[in-house]
C-alpha cells in the first residue's frame, strides 16, 4: 500500500532518508510514534485518497502528471472554455486582469520583463509577472475554468498552457508542450528571473527594510498635503452618511451634496436621505435605494464602471415615453441580461423588492440624476 506514496515522494526528489523511513514504516506499524493520549484520532490516508487530492505541481515540476498538448488544440479549448472571460487573445481586462501583453522577444532572452521597470503598460499581465511555468499548469488544472474548476483533462491543461505561451510569443505555432519539455520551456519564460527573496517579510527572523522615525517634537518645519480625493470622487463610494453610526462624536459626511463651506453640526443638519418627505408618503429616494441595493457598485451615474453609466442608459431610451422605459428597465433589472451594453452579464436582481426596482427604473428613465 505504500508503493504509490513512495513513488510520489521519489518524484519529489526525496533523499534516501525519506525512502528508508517509508520502507521502515511498511515493515512495521503504519501508525507513527504517538505519545499523546489523543494520538489514535484520524487514520492513515489511502494512496487513492492522496492521489485524488495531492494535485499540486511544484516549481521543479514534481507532481506534474505525464501528458502533452499542442498549441492548436489549446486554441480550441481556449475558444470554448476561456475566451468569454479572458478575451480572444488573452488580452481582455473586462472580467479579470489580462493574461497576455507587455512582454517582448528581448524579455524572453533576458528573463526580465522590461515593461515592469517603466509605465509603458496600463496593467500588468499574467505573462509579465509569472516567473514559474509550473504555476500556470497547476492553477489552470486546479481552478479553471472559473465556474467549472477541475473539468479540464490533463492533456487539455497542457494544450491551454501551450496556447497561452504561443500567444505570448514564447513558443511557435506548431509547439507541443509535454512533461518532457516543460522544464526547458521554463527557460524561455519572459519574467523567469523577475523575483527576489531579498526582503524582510518571509523569514520570521529577517529585518524590515523601512524603519520609521521616533521623533516626538519639532519633527517637520512644514506640512504639505500631496494628495487628496478629488471633488468628483466625493460620492464614488456612495453616500458616506449612510455608512456611519447615527450617534456618537461624529456622523458620516453627506456626500450626495458638496461639502459645507462652514461648520454646521451634522447633528443639526437634516440627512438628505431621511425626513418628512419619506414620511408624507412620497416615493423612496432612488439614490438611496440604488446605493442600498449595490447598483452603484457596477454603475456610475456619469461613468461606466462594470456596467454602463446610468446617464447613458437614460440617453439610449430617451426617445420613448418614460413610463414605458421604466417598465422595460424594471423587467431588465429583475431578470438580468447581457448583450445590450457588452458581454459582461448583469446578474438578476430578483431579491430586490419590486417597488424598489420600480423606483430605481423610474429614476433612470426620467434622467433627473
Amino acid at each position: 500500500m505504500y508503493k504509490s506514496v513512495n513513488t510520489r515522494v521519489q518524484r519529489r526528489g526525496a533523499t534516501l532518508w525519506t525512502i528508508a523511513t517509508l520502507l521502515a514504516i511498511g515493515l512495521t506499524s503504519p501508525v507513527s510514534a504517538q505519545t499523546t493520549a489523543w494520538g489514535k484520532l484520524g487514520r492513515t490516508a489511502t494512496p487513492a485518497e492522496i492521489k485524488a487530492w495531492d494535485i499540486d505541481v511544484r516549481p521543479d515540476f514534481a507532481g506534474l502528471p505525464a501528458g502533452s498538448g499542442a498549441v492548436s488544440k489549446g486554441q480550441d479549448v481556449w475558444e470554448s472554455r476561456c475566451e468569454s472571460c479572458h478575451g480572444t487573445f488573452g488580452e481582455s481586462n473586462e472580467v479579470f486582469t489580462p493574461i497576455i501583453g507587455g512582454t517582448t522577444a528581448e524579455d524572453i532572452k533576458t528573463g526580465h520583463v522590461a515593461a515592469l521597470r517603466n509605465d509603458s503598460q496600463p496593467q500588468r499581465s499574467t505573462m509579465m509577472k509569472v516567473s514559474q511555468l509550473s504555476v500556470l499548469w497547476d492553477y489552470i488544472n486546479r481552478a479553471m475554468p472559473w465556474n467549472q474548476p477541475k473539468s479540464l483533462s490533463t492533456d487539455e491543461v497542457y494544450a491551454v498552457v501551450a496556447y497561452i505561451l504561443n500567444m505570448a510569443g514564447v513558443v511557435p505555432n506548431d509547439f507541443v508542450l509535454s512533461d518532457k519539455n516543460i522544464a526547458a520551456t521554463q527557460g524561455r519564460l519572459p519574467n523567469r528571473n523577475g523575483t527576489t527573496l531579498a526582503h524582510g517579510m518571509w523569514d520570521v527572523a529577517a529585518k524590515p527594510d523601512v524603519q520609521g522615525s521616533n521623533c516626538m517634537t519639532n519633527c517637520a518645519t512644514s506640512v504639505t498635503i500631496s494628495s487628496r480625493l478629488p471633488d468628483y470622487a466625493r460620492n464614488a463610494h456612495g453616500d458616506i452618511a449612510t455608512q456611519n453610526r447615527l450617534i456618537g462624536s461624529v456622523r458620516g459626511a453627506d456626500t450626495l451634496r458638496p461639502a459645507a463651506k462652514t461648520f454646521v453640526s451634522p447633528a443639526e443638519r437634516k440627512p438628505a436621505t431621511a425626513g418628512p418627505a419619506a414620511a408624507a408618503g412620497a416615493k423612496p429616494d432612488p439614490v438611496k435605494l440604488a446605493n442600498q441595493h449595490a447598483c452603484m457598485a457596477c454603475h456610475g451615474v456619469a461613468n461606466k464602471v462594470v456596467g454602463p453609466a446610468l446617464q447613458d442608459v437614460h440617453k439610449k431610451y430617451s426617445g420613448q415615453p418614460a413610463a414605458d422605459v421604466a417598465r422595460q428597465l424594471a423587467a431588465r433589472i429583475k431578470a438580468g441580461g447581457t448583450g445590450t451594453w457588452g458581454n459582461i452579464p448583469m446578474p438578476p436582481q430578483g431579491h430586490v423588492p419590486d417597488a424598489d426596482i420600480q423606483a430605481i427604473a423610474e429614476w433612470i428613465a426620467n434622467g433627473k440624476f
Binding site: G200, M201, Q243
Partner: protein, 459 residues
C-alpha cells in the same frame, strides 16, 4: 474642568446660536416648541406631526443631544416613549440575535470598480464604527477567490501528506475531539491599503484599511498534527496549505511559523467559523497576510521547497522600482490607523474628542502608539488599552480638543521588535508606488474647518 465637560457658557452660546434671528427655521422634527406641538394638532398642519413621528427618535435625539432643549425640557424625557409604556418582545423572538436596526449603516461593503465579479472580490469591514479589538463575526472582511460555500462539516476531511511518516486523514469529529487552544489574532489582507500606494484613492477607513479583522480563534496547533503524522522537520522546511473550494487555494507557509503559532481553526468568536470565513476549517497563520489563512482547509503537505503557488507567483508579489517582484512576502509589518475621527466623518461639535484607533504588528506586540494632530510635526503617546497581545489588534485612545481649525490626525505604531511604522514618503523611497501589497504607512486624516474629515497624504 475635564475637557469633556461643557461650561455653562458653551450651553448659552449654543442656545443663542439656535435662536439667532435670520437663521433658517429648524425643521420641526428637530426642534419642537410648544407652538409647533399645538400646530401639529391642527388638521391643516397635521403633516408636521406625521413628519415628526416618522423622523423618529434617532433624528430627534441628535439635535437635542447638543443641549438645545425646549423650555420645559427634553421631549425624549418628558414624553414617555412607547418602549417605556408598552410590552416588549419575548425571548427567542430572534433565535439567532441581530444588531439593532439603528446600526444598519455599519455593513461590510465593496469598493466600487475594484473588482469585476463578486465571487472574486473583497468586502471591507466598517472599522469606522468598531470598538475595542474584536471584529463582530458578521462584519469580518471577506475575500473570496472563487466564491464562498457553506460546506457540510460531516463531509469535510483534512489530510496531511508529503514529508511525513504516516499521511493521515482527520474528520471534523477527530479534530474537535483533540485538545484545543484559543488565541486572539488579527488577519489583514496583504493588499490592505494597497489602493493608496500612488495617491489618495478612497474616502474612508473602511476602504483604506478595512481588509483587516481581529477575532478569537479556537482549534488545534498544526505542529501537534504534524507530530501526529511524524513530519520530517529536518527536511520539511515548508508546508503547502490547500483549500477544498473551487479555487483550491494554495499558499506556502514557512515551517518556522508552523512551529511557532499556526493553528487549524474551526471556531471564531465563540461559535463555529462563518461560511464566508472558511467553515468548517481554516488555517490561522498569526502575523501573516490573510491569503495564507487558507479557508475550507482540506490538506497540508510538508515539503522541502516553497511551492510557487498562483498567489505567491502571479498575485501577492510586490513590484519594486527595479522591476523585480518580491516573492513570498508574508509578514504584515507594524501598522496603525485612527478609526475615529476618520475620513468621511464630520465632527458634531467643537471641543473635546476621543481620538481612537487600532495598531498591530505581524512581528509581535504593540509597544507604543504616538498620535499627531498637526500633520506629524509633534507627537504624543496614546493610551494603549488592554489586552495587548501578540499579533493582535491593540486599541489606543488619546484626548483631543478641536478648536474649529484645520488639523491633520496621524498615528504611528512601534512594535516589540522596535520596528516603527514609516511614513508614506519613506516607504515609497524604498518600494516605489507599484507594489500594491504591504502598505503599512502612516495614515493622515485632514480635519477641515467645516468639520469634515478627509483622507490626505503628506508629501
Amino acid at each position: 474642568m475635564p475637557p469633556w465637560q461643557h461650561s455653562k457658557k458653551d450651553d448659552k452660546a449654543a442656545m443663542t446660536f439656535n435662536h439667532r434671528p435670520g437663521r433658517l427655521q429648524k425643521a420641526p422634527e428637530f426642534f419642537l416648541t410648544r407652538e409647533a406641538m399645538t400646530l401639529s394638532r391642527d388638521d391643516r398642519r397635521s403633516f408636521l406631526r406625521k413628519a415628526f413621528l416618522a423622523a423618529g427618535g434617532a433624528a430627534g435625539t441628535l439635535a437635542l443631544s447638543k443641549g438645545a432643549v425646549a423650555a420645559d425640557g427634553d421631549p425624549a424625557i418628558l414624553n414617555l416613549p412607547a418602549h417605556t409604556k408598552g410590552l416588549g418582545q419575548p425571548v427567542a423572538a430572534r433565535p439567532y440575535g441581530l444588531p439593532s436596526k439603528h446600526e444598519e449603516n455599519l455593513q461590510r461593503r465593496e469598493s466600487p470598480g475594484l473588482t469585476r465579479v463578486g465571487a472574486a472580490s473583497v468586502s471591507f469591514a466598517p472599522l469606522q464604527g468598531f470598538f475595542g479589538i474584536i471584529t463582530p463575526s458578521g462584519l469580518h472582511f471577506e475575500r473570496h477567490h472563487q466564491g464562498w460555500w457553506d460546506i457540510d462539516p460531516a463531509q469535510h476531511r483534512f489530510m496531511i501528506n508529503g514529508l511525513v511518516k504516516n499521511p493521515k486523514v482527520y474528520t471534523m469529529d477527530d479534530l474537535m475531539r483533540m485538545p484545543s487552544i484559543s488565541r486572539m489574532h488579527f488577519i489583514e489582507c496583504g493588499a490592505n491599503t494597497g489602493m493608496e500606494w500612488g495617491n489618495v484613492a478612497v474616502p474612508t477607513v473602511q476602504y483604506t484599511h478595512g481588509m483587516l479583522s481581529c477575532c478569537e480563534f479556537t482549534g488545534v496547533p498544526l505542529k501537534w498534527l504534524l507530530d501526529d503524522c511524524g513530519a520530517d522537520f529536518k527536511k520539511g522546511k515548508f508546508v503547502l496549505a490547500e483549500g477544498a473550494d473551487g479555487s483550491s487555494m494554495t499558499r506556502t507557509i514557512n515551517m518556522a511559523n508552523v512551529l511557532d503559532d499556526v493553528m487549524v481553526a474551526y471556531a471564531m468568536n465563540g461559535e463555529m467559523l462563518r461560511p464566508e470565513n472558511g467553515y468548517p476549517l481554516r488555517l490561522v497563520v498569526p502575523g501573516v497576510q490573510g491569503v495564507s489563512w487558507v479557508k475550507y482547509l482540506r490538506r497540508i503537505e510538508v515539503g522541502d521547497m516553497p511551492y510557487a503557488a498562483k498567489d505567491e507567483t502571479i498575485h501577492y508579489v510586490d513590484l519594486m522600482p527595479d522591476g523585480q517582484h518580491r516573492q513570498y512576502t508574508s509578514i504584515q509589518e507594524v501598522k496603525s490607523v485612527i478609526t475615529s475621527p476618520s475620513g468621511g466623518q464630520v465632527l458634531i461639535d467643537k471641543g473635546f474628542f476621543n481620538i481612537t484607533g487600532i495598531a498591530w504588528s505581524g512581528r509581535g506586540k504593540i509597544q507604543k502608539v504616538d498620535v499627531s494632530v498637526d500633520g506629524g510635526k509633534n507627537w504624543k503617546s496614546a493610551r494603549l488599552e488592554t489586552p495587548i497581545l501578540d499579533k493582535c489588534l491593540t486599541r489606543f485612545n488619546i484626548d483631543w480638543t478641536w478648536n474649529g481649525g484645520d488639523a491633520i490626525l496621524m498615528s504611528r505604531a512601534t512594535d516589540s521588535t522596535g520596528h516603527v511604522q514609516p511614513t508614506m514618503t519613506a516607504l515609497r523611497k524604498v518600494r516605489g508606488t507599484k507594489s500594491i501589497y504591504h502598505n503599512n504607512s502612516i495614515q493622515s486624516w485632514l480635519v477641515s474647518a467645516n468639520g469634515e474629515v478627509s483622507n490626505v497624504q503628506i508629501g
